[in-house]
Symmetry: C2
Subunit: 345 residues, 2 copies
DNA sequence: CTGTTAGCGCGTTCAA
DNA sequence: TTGAACGCGCTAACAG
């Protein structure tokens, strides 16, 4: 029987090798292309013998399925787009790593976009990434431009907002309440007897919200004075040092609360160089509990939030969603946090 | 005039919104689909007036180009695949960040695969990622399985091996010589007068090579005794602590050389808890110069290697390669390194 | 269990 | 400067 299968494309790319296609494999295996496709994706629908022939042909030809074509035909790209401020910060890196690990076992790949905390960049990236027709999209934070929200809702793909919590998510949220962190840290420190507070933060939106909530809670307890230094993102050791230096010019706090461990390290550094005893003369509270130095320094308290945990749970939520057809309505997962008090250790 | 343009696909996905296509835009703009495509990708080939109509239609419809279809039709995916051991290590995170930044300005997106230092995982990932038909692939290291090398050379796409150097790269290499690092560190320390060396390393292939080269250079200078502790990857503070503890059970080095700053931090930690003065009683040399604690601790020497620099130069090399058609032959870029001696600071 | 038909949405190539 | 035909490589849907 004569098969009228097209031979092969002229060439994949200018100098590239002529890529092997399903048709080539089918010819070698002596079956129809569709059978090859099934043998590869739904082996249970194929006789064992055929299956073997196909796999042999795949190996013989070195066939690698073209997922651009597959995605186009099936409207399933097996791609998840992830938008984060940065990846060069261990806390987000852990999230991505855990997310990727979780998704990869189900054969999903991850497309990453870095926003650098800019909403307009996020907007542009969302559009660019949607061009790949991802099966889901993960965004850091819950604060997006209208265009972004609009596009996302219209496409109707699963959306997960992470690292924050909100009453009305676009679709799903997985994170913790930054307001609650600020509030509980304030209560914790008040209870420990601190009086003169100082706050140092970078101008990352979530960090600022933690700090504002912290100060609001202090105010609720009658402490309206709370010096506040803000620095441009990203957080650096140098920033922490300068923040403390500057603050000491006009006040003498007994505890400094920082928007991140990195900043807190800088504060510790500056304190050390001035001969200030931590935590005796000055206590320091960070956020993140990830930096190695935070673990090293026995006097640094911090707030532990599970970066990896968020990634893991996001992967789980998505995989579950991919299984079950109906969206099942908006969903919120609070991953919580823990105040780690190292002074008492 | 009656246009026979197909209306639209039944639906993009089960519950998804029926995705807007080029045809929809064309209909709204009153031009042929091809004209829309040109207006978007090669505006210079289109009359200004037509251009405006098209852009208006794009905005009106909320059209987002389908890059699966575009890539399939043009054999150019505008995707670069990157394979790294991990991303939850600040040194690689910096590389990725810089690489992504560099590529994104040219509208390339990045697909990341995490190997966890496993060659077999790398092999599987290469196959999976090649399925997306990336326009280039970036791999950490120069040590790959034959299957990997084979597949890579056959596809003929640009390949960059980073974080290492080799005489015969698959295509391009951008990194530094780990042997040279080991050698120069040895010479540096010998010259400073150290006698009793100890080495602590995780079993990451490149780390081991630095350490082996270090010990070989010592041997060349008549020092054949060099206690060597290896630990399973990834590097942790705990590992560093245990490494030092264990070593102190059978020897008393005057300097410890570690395969990474993280390990070095652990060593510092253990030393501190034992009341050992650094660097007076025991000096410590790390690798990476990235961890905050390394910057904090004035007594820790280290080897600085540009993680971000590697990423940036890789992006540059690729973009250049995408411009110029002919491969121009194998290419090696040595990004070098610097020994940072903090004892004398 | 396997094959056939008919696109998926776009860019290439040529003709107008 | 614009349009029409065709095919990229694959899978959904149905037929056998």
């Amino acid at each position: 029987m004569v098969r009228k299968l097209k031979s092969r494309s002229p060439d994949a790319r200018a100098s590239g090798a002529p890529s092997v296609t399903l048709i080539d494999v089918a010819r070698v295996a002596g079956v129809a292309p569709m059978t090859v496709s099934r043998a590869l994706h739904r082996p249970e629908l194929v006789r064992e013998e055929t299956q073997k022939k196909v796999l042999a042909a795949v190996r013989a030809t070195g066939y690698v399925p073209n997922m651009l074509a597959g995605g186009l035909a099936s409207s399933r790209s097996r791609l998840v787009a992830v938008l984060l401020p940065t990846i060069a910060s261990s806390i987000f890196a852990e999230t991505v790593q855990a997310l990727m690990d979780g998704l990869s076992v189900a054969n999903y790949q991850t497309l990453i976009g870095l926003t650098g905390y800019s909403a307009s960049r996020e907007e542009a990236l969302v559009e660019a990434l949607l061009g790949r027709r991802p099966d889901a999209i993960v965004l850091a934070g819950t604060d997006h431009t209208n265009t972004t929200i609009d596009r996302l809702t219209r496409t109707g793909i699963p959306v997960v907002e992470i690292w924050d919590l909100t009453e009305k998510p676009i679709d799903m949220v997985i994170g913790f309440s930054h307001e609650q962190v600020g509030r509980e840290v304030a209560r914790h420190l008040l209870q420990k007897g601190y009086h003169r507070f100082g706050v140092i933060s970078v101008n990352d939106p979530r960090g600022l919200r933690r700090c504002e909530s912290f100060r609001a809670e202090l105010a609720r307890h009658g402490i309206s004075e709370c010096p506040f230094e803000t620095l441009p993102a990203p957080a650096t050791l140098e920033g922490g040092r300068r923040g403390l230096s500057h603050m000491l010019e006009y006040t003498t706090p007994d505890i400094i609360v920082c928007s991140s461990d990195t900043l807190a390290e800088g504060v510790l550094m500056e304190a050390a160089s001035r001969g200030i005893q931590v935590p005796t003369d000055l206590a320091v509270m960070g956020f993140g509990d990830l930096s190695m130095a935070a673990q090293l320094h026995p006097a640094l308290s911090t707030v532990k939030v599970g970066g990896a945990d968020i990634g893991k749970r996001t992967a789980e939520a998505l995989l579950e969603r991919f299984e079950t057809a109906p969206p099942a309505g908006p969903r919120c997962i609070d991953t919580g946090f823990a105040i780690i008090d190292r002074e008492s250790a």
